[in-house]
Amino acid sequence: MPGENLARSRQEEEDEDDSTTDLSPSRASTHPSASLTVPFSVIAQGAEAVLYRTTMFDGQAVVIKERFRKQYRLPELDEQLTRTRMTAEARATAKAWRLSGVHVPALYLVDWQRRWLVFEYIEGPTLRTWLEGEGSERRARIPEAAAPVLRQVGEAVSTLHAADWIHGDLTSSNVLIRRSGSNDGWGEDAHELQAVLIDLGLAFCSSSCNEHHVEDKAVDLYVLERAFRSAHATHADAYTAIVWQAYAQHSRPQDARAVQKRLELVRQRGRKRTMVG
């Protein structure tokens, strides 16, 4: 089994290198997944999955996204949701991978038994932490400095939408930033940075013959807008405007107009919803 081979090779590496202590078996024994028996390092625990970092047989860094069983919900519901989400994420990632101008991690493997999707590892921060800024004072990144990356997000979403795909969970935690050029550090020269979309488990296809497709696209953008407002309050409006502008410029004018009109309605709905029914 590849998993065991991987475990062994990690183990050997570890013996030589103390800096990889987070890969130690003792750490693995406390991790929340009972089905995983090999020592990998946990990099994140999202709402749906635990993510581990490891390497493939050829040394390529990968992440394993394991949708472990959620003890809080009924097993039959858990089973059904996990299947749906894994299928959606695998399909949408594969689809997006082929679209030029959209960056997603390469999908390497689907393991239904273990509930794993294995992706290319993306080196770099999430858009969320990147926007929050670095250093001890942690000042939010000013919109001008963030613009090149935010524009890429707008364009990527526009391309995805033009292909009738809806991301479904566009937040700043679901965009990774990697270096594509030669500059060092994650500093001000944001032109060298590349926005990578991840977490397509809630993605779905909404074709233009479907009456909801404009609504679906508007809601996709609205989710991002709200994620900015709730997590990056200071510059939320400016961030949103940059994403929108890039989205609109990159879309067909009539599509952009339709989505914009709908987006206005979706926002109104949020504000005007009656509180008692």
């Binding site: 625990q45 709402a47 749906e48 003890q71 519901l77 059904q80 989710v223 709200r226 997590a231 504000r271």
Partner: protein
């Protein structure tokens, strides 16, 4: 020891509570308007109920706390959001009371009051908040002087969904439809799959409700209640967890009437423990609308007002400047 009195009446409950500046609850009196089985509460009837009850509730509250109006430092009332006529009735009562005894009057946002009472009762310091009631379904976290809404329902509130299901099933509205669904669900055995609708951090219940409506005579009441609870609560836990992962919270505080449901609390507890955190929950006295929460939020927000003392049917949680928190 300054004391604050609060009057709540945004929906079908009318309540009066008195709290001290230190957060001690001196009394918590409440009356509920219970419409006939199979019907919901209408604004006019509900307002009439509150008008009839509010004076004797005020008297009862003062008696229970053993204080006179002159010992109070101020009066708070729910300014919104909620149903216009019931809100108005209680605002009039609070205004009259304040003028009679020359007390300062503070309008309070109902959602913020739910959250602040939850923090007071449980001692949770900075949790992610799940606010689930008949009129609201929101995932909230505090940052920079506001309670920010991360996720919410895109159509009806979860309590509203349960209340309407209870009506379809002919369950009683006393003490509350949600309570009766909870009891029936305990006897449910078979899980019937229902539409599960999560969009990022948002949820939607209207599709599930109409689907459940079609199953009414084909599935037993117990199994349907059980299946609906399992499905809608799983949706709520998922969006709560997503907001937590997004902003790095470990603890959850659940407030609002649906928040006293034991199964929902259990599911949230399991989820929190899986993230190394904990759940802060309360029982029906403070989860369901009450006067104390309004009194306490009024005390906290006493310095914030601009003299406005009206009612607003729509008043979003994130519009309130939370000047009393770090």
């Amino acid at each position: 020891m300054p004391l604050f009195l609060g009057v709540e009446g945004s929906a079908n409950k009318v309540g009066v509570g008195i709290v001290s500046d230190a957060g001690a609850v001196l009394c918590n009196e409440r009356e509920t308007y219970v419409p006939a089985t199979g019907t919901g509460f209408q604004p006019r009837e509900t307002a009439r109920h509150h008008q009839r009850q509010v004076v004797q509730l005020l008297q009862r509250a003062l008696r229970a706390a053993g204080v006179t109006p002159r010992e109070l430092a101020g009066v708070a009332y729910t300014g919104g959001p909620g149903m216009g006529a019931p809100l108005q009735s209680c605002a009039v009562a609070a205004r009259t009371f304040a003028q009679l005894f020359r007390l300062p009057l503070v309008p309070v946002n109902h959602c913020v009051a739910h959250i602040e009472m939850g923090r007071l009762v449980t001692g949770a310091v900075d949790p992610a908040v799940l606010y689930v009631s008949g009129g609201n379904t929101q995932v909230i976290a505090y940052s920079e002087q506001r309670y920010r809404v991360f996720g919410e329902t895109i159509d009806i509130a979860v309590g509203n969904c349960l209340d309407r299901l209870a009506r379809l099933l002919g369950l009683s509205n006393a003490p509350s439809p949600g309570y009766n669904i909870e009891q029936a669900a305990k006897r449910g055995k078979r899980y019937v799959p229902l539409p599960y609708c999560v969009k990022g951090m948002d949820v939607s219940f209207s599709g599930l409700l109409s689907y459940a409506g079609e199953l009414v005579r084909r599935v037993s009441v117990e199994d349907l209640c059980y299946s609906v609870q399992e499905t809608v609560f799983a949706m709520l836990v998922e969006v709560t967890e997503r907001a937590m992962a997004h902003c790095g919270y470990r603890d959850v505080l659940v407030v609002g009437g649906v928040g006293c449901n034991a199964r929902l609390q259990e599911m949230l507890r399991v989820m929190c423990e899986g993230r190394g955190g904990r759940l802060w929950g309360m029982d029906e006295r403070y989860c369901v609308d009450n006067g104390c929460m309004v009194a306490w939020a009024g005390w906290l927000g006493r310095g914030e007002g601009d003299g406005w003392a009206g009612v607003r049917q729509r008043w979003r949680t994130d519009e309130v400047v939370v000047g009393w928190r770090e």
